[in-house]
Symmetry: C2
Subunit: 313 residues, 2 copies
Amino acid sequence: MQDLSEFDLIEKLFAPLATAPGAFGLKDDVAMVAPRAGHDLVVTTDTIVESVDFFASDPPDTIARKALRVNLSDLVAKGAEPAAHLLTLMLPERIDRAFLESFVRGLASDQQTFGVTLLGGDMSATPGPLAISVTAFGYAPVGQLVKRGGARVGDLVYVTGSIGDSGAGLSLLKSNAQNAPSRLIGRYRVPEPRVGFAPAVRRASASIDVSDGLLADLGHIANASGVRIVVEAQRIPRSPELVAVWGDSEEAIVRAATAGDDYEIAFTASAPILGSAGVPVTGIGRVEAGTGVVLLDSESCEIAVPRAGFRHF
Amino acid sequence: MQDLSEFDLIEKLFAPLATAPGAFGLKDDVAMVAPRAGHDLVVTTDTIVESVDFFASDPPDTIARKALRVNLSDLVAKGAEPAAHLLTLMLPERIDRAFLESFVRGLASDQQTFGVTLLGGDMSATPGPLAISVTAFGYAPVGQLVKRGGARVGDLVYVTGSIGDSGAGLSLLKSNAQNAPSRLIGRYRVPEPRVGFAPAVRRASASIDVSDGLLADLGHIANASGVRIVVEAQRIPRSPELVAVWGDSEEAIVRAATAGDDYEIAFTASAPILGSAGVPVTGIGRVEAGTGVVLLDSESCEIAVPRAGFRHF
């Protein structure tokens, strides 16, 4: 970090990303978050850490995009429209200007894609791994935020997109697989938050984004709602690329449903919610009385799941 | 971290700190930030990293309090009243439940002292040092936020409290000084954000909290305001404990004025702003036409300052 000072970095690289009046051009110590008439202000924060959530060898622009996207995914899963973010960088010595230029290019591209702007942040040196913490702001129409606790007996269970691709991408990266399908690795490195689907999510009874793993995250809904969620294994949507790598066995389905990092939206609804805005939706189960999550095979027998999803600890 | 899961930690230790309705008891993925009538919503974020901003051997409750307080200081220096925060923890393997219990006790005590509540956050395992990132929210009466850029020629320059104590505390900790004055070390470990002084700050023309170092932070005001700031070295307020350790030489004054981590408020004003709410205020200089910051001795000769303050890079 000898080739550019903290103040120069902010002025040259990051200030151009901060176009909202409340960001004060990143020239002050605080920012102002504008209210939006008829809307609640929604906030979330998520951190990604090198060697835990991404690889040191990942392209810097993909690291920036992942840090932002995992946060946007949280907003969208609640029916909120993303608007702005704060960015905190913990930078080890090896990070140079070229790295940060690529990082900022990725961030700028995603800010444009998703209509969000940089409000402020913090930069700190660290003797440890690279870590990026984002706090994201969004707006939801007043009273329409969708929480985990609204699932009711009789609701159906849905998920957007496909499950397991990111987990397979991670496995491929870990095993240094040659000629690995780049779409799977791409989904691990740069998840696709379902931003266009936010208005549809508002009709869900409960919703969550799939980060820990499909079954673990549905478990959070079941727990918060005081219900039991039954998932039919064969209906869990999996991509052709995933099936080509992991196969089509029951074990492969369990692996996909517990891998995590999908950033799809899992939700319950009392009336069907169809795919929209280019986002496919698949019905995968139902809400019953009881507790927990159950995975059923094609003969309606329960499949044992050793570990529902990712835990940091 | 084998003795408690992430979900248990949130429920047992952190949820009791989250009393605002918008925190949803830390049971969801997002939080809502309530608007306050007649006020702007102000946000800031600051991270502290082990071995950079605190010592691994510091008591856990002081680490929590420092992480929160450096953020509250940023709000107060702008005239905003702190209200809530998001807390992100990056936890190395060695952190155990006892550590986190002490951490939470410190945080709970400070939340009560300063009238702030926990809105949400994130926990992540890290192979690196302990790091704590806080995003703090506050409210300022509409249009009354005090920025860096408002200093005008003819304004006077003020600072709250005393300067250099924290820097001396850090030196003492680094040199393992026996019988060191605990007040100096205390100011390094647990800074005192001048929360009661926020209403007075709103009459300042420009303001900043002293984190990088008094001269460096006044330099930020000079730069943003397009003015020159002249500081009289002998008027910089220093505590008896500091003078006892560092002495009263010109060199000692320069050292205090560049040490940083004071979390006092340095500000400019066109009419005198007196101490209030138990916070002493000292006039230390004036605003002139020109650029930069100048430190003068008792004969009005410029004192050479090799390095105005702390930089991460």
